[in-house]
Symmetry: C2
Subunit: 197 residues, 2 copies
């Protein structure tokens, strides 16, 4: 939903043609998220279908110009005014760990350790990348900083959560509530025959 909205927001500033939109998007996001041109055109088709943009005839150079409609403008205003609410996000890692805890024979601490290594590597990579950039000196630099920082914060949170989750799981295992860690050999068979309720 966000590429779509971003392109619309850019079109709200001025009519553009497709190829130009990609450039605008990429500079405005600091080149952090390369965007396939094809996606611009498919997105424009869908925006046109939904009545948010119209083909505004042709450019001086003969390029196909798209312009925003009133409905489109109002959509942009709504987007900017309303906060992003991530309802019920199915976080891939959380889901994986939750599921893994219910599977017999899975070495969950090892899984966490593997993940931690990977996560910390990403974090280190991001921090190194970040430190190679000085203070933002252009709008594009600012966008780049914002995006990279958001990634850093998210990855840091992931790392912290991994530690926390490890402790939570260990505690649950100690209190005997959960069988996930020490696996009875037989459990595998039991699950196989009955399945679950």
């Amino acid at each position: 939903m966000s590429v779509r909205q971003s392109l619309l927001a850019i079109l709200d500033q001025a009519p553009c043609y497709g190829y130009q939109l990609r450039g605008e998007f990429e500079t405005r996001t600091g080149g952090t998220w390369p965007l396939n041109v094809g996606q611009v055109y498919t997105t424009l088709d869908r925006l046109e279908r939904d009545g948010f943009v119209t083909r505004d005839g042709a450019d001086v150079e003969g390029r196909v110009r798209y312009a925003i409609t009133d409905a489109g403008s109002s959509e942009v205003r709504g987007w900017l005014a309303a906060p992003v609410v991530r309802q019920q996000v199915r976080d891939e890692l959380a889901m994986k760990l939750a599921i893994a805890c219910t599977l017999p024979g899975i070495d969950v601490p090892a899984l966490i350790q593997t993940q931690r290594t990977a996560t910390l590597a990403v974090l280190q990579d991001l921090t190194r990348t970040k430190s190679s950039q000085a203070a933002p000196a252009s709008p594009s630099d600012l966008a780049w900083s914002l995006v990279v920082e958001s990634m850093i914060f998210a990855v840091e949170a992931e790392a912290r959560w991994l530690d926390h989750a490890e402790a939570t799981i260990a505690r649950a295992a100690r209190s005997g509530a959960v069988a996930a860690v020490e696996v009875p050999r037989a459990a595998r068979r039991i699950v196989a025959e009955g399945g679950a309720r």
Copy 2:
């Protein structure tokens, strides 16, 4: 990609029928992510198409049983062994803020404030929910805790990032690199009349 993998991982434990899979998924994730039954069947179709599961004849009760294939098992092993790597995630909020900074006439601090309010509300909601749950006493409770905690960590990171981003933007504005914040009076009116509610 994660619902699909989770269902496959469950099937790796025992053959199941569709409706049962939903139940398994929901209990194994602590009921945090309700899953439409229809999605189970579409996912099963796709898994079958990809050769990861087969229809294993019928149940004692006449229900359609699905079983994992060797390819499916190997897929599950791969999934569990490999860390989750979120490459190039297009974070909706980061994108929105980055774009917003490049739009003339947008009151970015206000946007951030609105977002912060919403984010903190979500956070408070999550913490309240969390505190109503004591120590996990069952596998389902553990899953629930893990998921809720992951959400809390993510939302906290979002809140922290908002503060950080605010500072970054202010610094960029002070250093004169970016025009986004000080808005030409005229532009402001144009945007304002549309009404950010």
